[in-house]
């Protein structure tokens, strides 16, 4: 029935409505940023809440769009992330005259991701993908006057256009060899012929580009550094998560016949990604760039988890994404506040940070420990479960490799902690007035970092709804 459709599409619909509302607000007489921001945050919170109401499996528009508890949960995660980001960028947007455009762009891209996640068809998937990418490219350029910002946007749009061209070529060959675009039918026609493998590799490359896996990652650092913090966090958390969900979906549901191939590919990519990400992260001084590389390394671990190709694998992936949202956004939150209020974005600026801003320091530290995977933070469990999933196939080489890389990553996270707590600095960042909204967001993140790991119910729930190969 019609309202069934409405329920199935509720998350998308809410977003669409919100987008249009924002357009009207833009057209109407201008309001104060505070009111707009509060309104949006509340709306996003509602949207998030709406996600939890009822989880049903449905298939709409003859397989173009399908949804199930897992997908709904994934969208909830993205909503959560969007909400947190928007709360954290409060300080930055408060006196920015283009606040609405920012939300138009990000929300549109979010909508695109929703469509991509629940796409049941390559065409739908492609549309979602582009819909999520193009606005972000514009958003990357949000600081119109900054040189770096426009450079970042340029790099993003060009390389994503290139990658989507590659992706499309892959899809076209896939279409040529199978004659269909629908996932459910596609599986039957996959036979691992060279052309299909080639097509598949092109497809994987497209994905790898979005999740910035080595060697398709090179745009990441520059774009993260150039674009505004809010956009960076959006890129590093939400779009990555969305693409990962889709990748998981496609690999586990569609390309099952060539599982062995993509298992190897994933392992290779994972190894390269972890290593390169770590090696680059060691040297970085710009915080966003640093987090870019660290997030690349994280993706490597995620790939290991996916390569486990079991229910544990997918569950651990989603679980890790949740944790990653909390921890990464906590870190970005602090940076967002600092850069919005002082414009400083370098690790060296954070020397002696603890003396002036103990609260922020602790948030940042906990976030970093979580990223490093140290108990009792959730990151520990996330990483460990990913590795367990990876180990399930008995390929301990990659596990040992990853374990040793954890030590390297530990080093650069501790480097930051060292700067914050131990390094002497006569001109530390002065005491900052953190807006309440951002504070709340940070507390949410920290609480998430602590609780998500220790409270096993979260993982058990995810496991119950997640899919295996």
């Amino acid at each position: 029935m019609t309202y069934n459709i409405l329920i199935s599409l509720r998350q998308e619909l809410v977003l669409t409505v919100l987008i249009f509302l924002l357009l009207f607000i833009k057209l109407g007489k201008d309001r104060s940023n505070e009111s707009i921001l509060n309104f949006i945050n509340i709306a996003l919170a509602l949207n998030l809440a709406a996600g939890f109401c009822c989880h049903e499996t449905a298939e709409l528009f003859n397989g173009m769009f399908n949804t199930n508890p897992l997908i709904v949960f994934e969208k909830d995660l993205l909503n959560l992330a969007a909400l947190i980001i928007s709360m954290q960028s409060y300080a930055w947007l408060k006196d920015n005259k283009n606040v609405i455009e920012f939300y138009l762009l990000t929300l549109t891209s979010l909508l695109g991701m929703f469509l991509m996640i629940s796409s049941g068809n390559l065409l739908m998937f492609y549309l979602g993908l582009e819909m999520s990418t193009i606005p972000l490219a514009a958003a990357a350029n949000f600081d119109l006057t900054k040189r770096k910002s426009s450079e970042a946007a340029m790099k993003l749009i060009l390389s994503s256009a290139f990658s989507s061209a590659i992706l499309l070529l892959g899809i076209s060959y896939l279409y040529g060899t199978t004659g269909t675009l629908t996932f459910s039918i596609l599986t039957a026609h996959i036979n691992g012929s060279p052309l299909q493998l080639f097509a598949f590799i092109l497809l994987i490359a497209g994905f790898a580009f979005k999740i910035s896996a080595v060697p398709f990652h090179l745009w990441t650092a520059d774009v993260y550094e150039g674009s505004p913090v809010a956009v960076t966090s959006f890129l590093s958390v939400i779009s990555k998560a969305a693409v990962l969900f889709t990748l998981l979906n496609i690999l586990y549901k569609v390309f099952t016949p060539i599982a062995n191939t993509w298992y190897l590919i994933l392992v290779l990519l994972a190894a390269a990604t972890i290593l390169i990400g770590n090696l680059f992260a060691i040297r970085q001084d710009n915080f966003k760039r640093f987090l870019a590389f660290s997030s690349i390394a994280q993706v490597g671990f995620i790939l290991i988890g996916i390569s486990g190709s079991s229910q544990i694998g997918s569950a651990s992936l989603i679980y890790f994404i949740l944790i990653y949202i909390f921890s990464n956004l906590a870190a970005f939150g602090v940076i967002a506040v600092v850069s919005a209020l002082t414009g400083k974005e370098n690790i060296s600026d954070f020397k002696g940070f603890y003396k002036t801003n103990p609260m922020l320091s602790w948030v940042l530290t906990i976030a970093l420990f979580s990223l490093a995977g140290v108990p009792p933070t959730a990151g520990f469990f996330g990483k460990l479960f990913l590795m367990m999933a990876g180990a399930a196939k008995g390929n301990y080489g990659i596990i040992i490799f990853a374990a040793l890389n954890m030590v390297i990553s530990f080093y650069y996270y501790l480097r930051v902690v060292k700067a914050i707590f131990m390094d002497q600095n006569d001109t530390p960042i002065e005491k900052l007035q953190v807006p309440t909204v951002s504070k709340i967001a940070m507390y949410i993140c920290v609480a998430g970092v602590i609780v998500t790991g220790l409270a096993s119910v979260v993982y058990d729930y995810i496991y119950s709804i997640s899919i295996g190969l």
């Binding site: 060009l158 060279p194 580009f209 745009w219």
Partner: protein
């Protein structure tokens, strides 16, 4: 069998004193510390005399043989079933005898110290340490378990360390204490391994059981230990030799003797107690304790014999050349202990053949008295002259008559002049040696002569040689208070008297009394030699004439060598300072910094290097990014379409 448990109090009382003085002494009891310690020890002494009386005269003997009685046995630490450290009390002739010796000598020293250490800042601490030592020594004596022996062995070592370094701000004292501890520690390592060997094959650590198993030729333990061998020697030899090594360390046998002379840095009463009468004979006691097992292995016994003999001679020669009176005494101690050792070595087990054993114990007994007497005498001399050097002394016989007499008696005793105590015990030793081994007998004889020579050299140098120094500071405090004279007198009496004890009635290798008699004909030779030596010494040193220097010059190299203690210390110094430190210690320390740790550092460095090396990948040119992108695709395609297809 009557109850001997009260013997437990003999060691416990000093322990209690130590604890009390150790904790409260410094603050509250410093005034009465001495009296407290002396009183408690007096009780112990009385108790041990009671014990001796009960054991030797009342119920020790069962149908003619003195029994080994285990009065107490408490499992203290069980390593494995029937392999455990038991704290026990063993009572047999030698342990009871040692009880008497240790307590009475220690008592004398306690009393003497009341005067000697008067006014010391750490008076209480001193008595605490004394009590600790006495406790450890008594514990060692009473041990029924070889590991228990080892424990008290270590405790004795440490308390001696504490007492030697009593003057802790005197670097020499500290160095001496370190030397003493480390050398004996090294010896104890041998002891420990010996214990491990014996315990492993014997399947027990209980001395009684060990003896029982290793002396019965057909016991599995005996067979296994004798059949097992390492580097040609049977495990029994190894075990016993290593145990003896421990003994040699404590008893300052050559070549582990180097700590003893330096140990004289401690307060003189301490030297009298530890380094004359009690601790240094622990080695002898240990061998005697394990004697039945030793008799089962010829080679081990031979080692004991020859080490003993060598030490006796070696020390005697050095003693002739030393000028520090305490060092002379130290070397004489070493020499006398050498006597006891080889006496044990040449002895056999049981009956008349056990003469050496009995003689050795006898000499231990007499030696304890006259040697502590000598030290205390030297103590009161030093107390008066404030110097250890002979050249600062001379003609003191007028100023300190009592000391003089006592010292003379002691010298006569050690020289083996009848009817003084030393005579009897030495006679027995010589007799035994004569019957068993002529070479040893020769050495013994020569050493005896040397002994009387250097003792009287000492005696004359202190009390005669020049006239009483005119300066008045000697008169100022004369000979010290009665508490210092009384022990001298008592001990002098002992030095005269104890020789007449029919020792062989009580202490023999197998507990059964044997008949011994002094063969006048036999004893002419040694006595004559001693007398000659004394006369020689008198002619050299009675009053200052250049003779001695001439003789010394005549001996030339030998003299200087002896004067330099045959350079043994230098050898040790060379080994430690020139070999162990630079060739083992430093290389390891270096390697740890630069190789082991360096490797870890290198890992970190290399990682950073690589990361700098590859930073070109991120060129910042979007076109290169696209190329890498395409390159990635190409690689993947090649890998998965052509290679792993």
């Amino acid at each position: 069998m009557s109850n001997y448990l009260y013997i437990l109090w003999i060691p416990l009382l000093p322990l209690a004193t130590f604890v009390i003085l150790g904790i409260f002494g410094r603050k509250y009891l410093s005034s009465i510390a001495g009296l407290l310690g002396t009183a408690s020890l007096l009780t112990s002494t009385i108790l041990s005399f009671v014990a001796a009386k009960q054991y030797f005269f009342v119920d020790g003997k069962v149908n003619g043989v003195y029994q080994k009685i285990v009065a107490l046995k408490y499992t203290w630490l069980e390593f494995a079933p029937n392999m455990s450290i038991d704290l026990g009390i063993i009572i047999d002739p030698i342990s009871v005898m040692m009880l008497v010796v240790v307590t009475s000598v220690s008592l004398m020293v306690h009393v003497f110290s009341l005067g000697y250490m008067k006014g010391e800042e750490r008076f209480a601490t001193y008595y605490a340490f004394l009590s600790l030592f006495t406790f450890s020594m008594l514990g060692l004596i009473l041990s029924s378990n070889i590991f228990q022996v080892y424990m008290f062995w270590e405790l004795v070592g440490v308390s001696s360390f504490l007492l030697i370094s009593y003057y802790f701000n005197k670097p020499a004292a500290v160095a001496a204490s370190k030397k003493a501890f480390i050398v004996t520690r090294f010896a104890d390592l041998g002891f420990l391994i010996g214990i491990l060997i014996l315990g492993y094959y014997g399947g027990t650590l209980d001395i009684g059981l060990l003896i029982e198993r290793f002396t019965s030729v057909h016991s599995t333990q005996f067979l296994s230990i004798t059949s097992a061998s390492f580097l040609g020697a049977s495990m029994l030899t190894w075990g016993l030799t290593l145990v003896f090594m421990g003994g040699a360390g404590k008893s300052a046998m050559f070549p582990l003797h180097i700590w003893l002379p330096d140990a004289m840095e401690g307060p003189t009463p301490v030297s009298a107690l530890i380094h004359a009468a009690t601790m240094v004979v622990a080695g002898v006691y240990l061998v005697a304790r394990m004697f039945p097992v030793f008799t089962m292995d010829e080679s081990a016994l031979n080692i004991v014999t020859y080490v003993g003999a060598a030490s006796a001679l070696f020390a005697a020669i050095i003693a002739c050349t030393q000028t520090d009176i305490k060092r002379v005494l130290a070397y004489s101690t070493m020499s006398q202990i050498g006597y006891m050792m080889f006496a044990l070595g040449i002895s056999k087990n049981g009956g008349e053949n056990g003469l050496g054993y009995m003689a050795s114990m006898f000499h231990l007994f007499t030696h304890a008295f006259f040697k502590s007497l000598l030290f205390l005498g030297a103590g009161s001399v030093i107390h008066m002259v404030h110097s250890n050097e002979m050249k600062d002394m001379g003609g003191l016989r007028k100023l300190m008559p009592i000391t003089h007499i006592a010292f003379l008696i002691a010298c006569l005793a050690i020289a083996g002049i009848p009817p003084f105590a030393g005579f009897f015990s030495k006679e027995e030793i010589l007799t035994a040696a004569f019957h068993e081994n002529k070479i040893i007998y020769g050495i013994a004889l020569f050493t005896a002569a040397l002994t009387s020579f250097y003792m009287f050299r000492l005696y004359f140098n202190i009390f005669w040689s020049k006239d009483a120094p005119a300066d008045n500071h000697h008169e100022s405090h004369g000979e010290g208070p009665w508490v210092m004279k009384l022990p001298l007198l008592i001990l002098a009496a002992c030095a005269v008297g104890v020789g007449f004890i029919p020792f062989s009635q009580f202490i023999t290798s197998d507990g059964a009394p044997i008949e011994t008699h002094i063969d006048v004909v036999f004893s002419i030779v040694p006595v004559a030699l001693s007398v000659l030596a004394i006369l020689l010494a008198a002619s050299f040193y009675k009053n200052q004439n250049g003779k001695s220097d001439k003789v010394a010059a005549a001996f030339g190299g030998l003299y200087t060598a002896a004067h330099k203690k045959f350079y043994i210390d230098e050898v040790y110094l060379f080994i430690t300072k020139k070999i162990i430190f630079p060739f083992i210690g430093q290389p390891i320390a270096w390697a740890d910094k630069n190789i082991v740790d360096g490797f870890m550092q290198w890992l970190a460095k290399i990682t950073l290097k690589v990361s700098v090396l590859i930073k070109g990948l991120q060129s910042g040119k979007v076109q290169n990014y696209a190329m890498y992108f395409f390159g990635g695709i190409v690689v993947l395609s090649i890998l998965f379409i052509y290679i792993w297809k």
